[in-house]
Symmetry: C2
Subunit: 185 residues, 2 copies
DNA sequence: CACGCCATGTAAAGGGTTACATGATTAC
DNA sequence: GTAATCATGTAACCCTTTACATGGCGTG
């Protein structure tokens, strides 16, 4: 139930076309709310139909022509309402933790390689976040908007830091285990 | 694509009926892979059709009668295959981070209350994990299975610790902000 | 003019969520 | 015996994912 609000936020930050939104979802906003271009186009159509956004007037609104959207006042109000509303946290789903739990039953064979790979992926993401922090949030601070965005980025940095460290422990644990944890036939 | 493997893991740990599985998904395994009873019943039917599990013979397998499932050898092999297979991490989705990003555009009014609420929910979950740790993983350690399960629990503890701390920062940040961050009409 | 890319879309399949339905067992 | 609870299941809807389709634009 949050994709439309992610799009409204992105469009308020800067009016964009569907493909431009898709690219931005591959970067900043997508780091905590990913979406494919099919989702985005469908949702743009819905939002326009509901009168929350509108397409800026273009010369020839034909297929294959760029369409740039902006947020209408009703859209801004809906986003403010949603932001302030009470929401329960979604139950977590983490396949890697599930795999470790499964490995406790069927054995850890073949698992270490993928744990190391995940560790590197998280380390790379962490480095990317740190670069963004250096670039966009230098010590001399900005306004309230920047402080909030920096807070969100800090969450990303701390989470990736946690995962790289935890995966280090996991690799060490799994590497030190005897083969044949799984039941032998 | 992981619900069947979550169920296989749970059934290997202990053969169970659909409702017993549902209860256990509300506790241990559900902490990182939640599922409702509808999902579980549907998936049990599929797994039985694929020959990965079987219902233990009962007196009268009628509607409303308890049906206990156990994992067959093919099921154990499938779980071992899945556990060892390389898998990409799923892109994250976090509505709370998205809301903070939205608040940077439309203002933080009404947000602090829910931030505090989330902080308490995470603090409570953290306390529950710590209790489980005291109960199930006392300092004198167990075997390899227990070390893996403890590792998974540590991930939960560290993640909840992170969230409570981060939400403390977030509340402090938001509480110190002037009203009317959103555009004034 | 052919090829690759930009940009917008359609279709189908699958998984998750919510609401509802139904038989069996237990407690009063 | 009837109400609550246990236990299993159906159905509809929504969201996400994946694959494919279509038209326009720029370049050699």
């Amino acid at each position: 139930m949050s994709l439309p609000h992610a799009i409204l936020t992105a469009l308020l930050e800067k009016p964009s076309s569907g493909l431009e939104l898709t690219r931005r979802f591959d970067r900043s906003i997508g780091y905590f709310w990913s979406a494919t271009h099919q989702q985005i186009y469908r949702e743009l159509g819905k939002l326009e139909g509901e009168g929350l956004i509108r397409a800026l007037p273009a010369e020839q609104p034909a297929r294959g022509q760029k369409k740039v959207y902006e947020v209408l006042e009703a859209g801004r109000e809906e986003l403010a309402r949603w932001t302030a509303a009470s929401q329960d946290p979604k139950p977590q789903r983490d396949a890697l933790l599930l795999r470790l739990r499964a490995a406790a039953v069927v054995g850890t064979e073949g698992l270490e390689r993928d744990l190391r790979r995940h560790r590197e992926l998280h380390a790379r993401q962490l480095e990317m976040y740190r670069e963004i922090e250096r670039r966009d949030f230098p010590p001399g601070k900005g306004g309230a908007e920047d402080r909030l965005r920096h807070l969100v980025l800090r969450a990303g940095i701390d989470l990736e830091t946690f995962w790289t460290q935890w995966l280090d422990h996991a690799v060490a644990e799994v590497a030190g285990m005897p083969e044949g944890q799984g039941r032998q036939e």
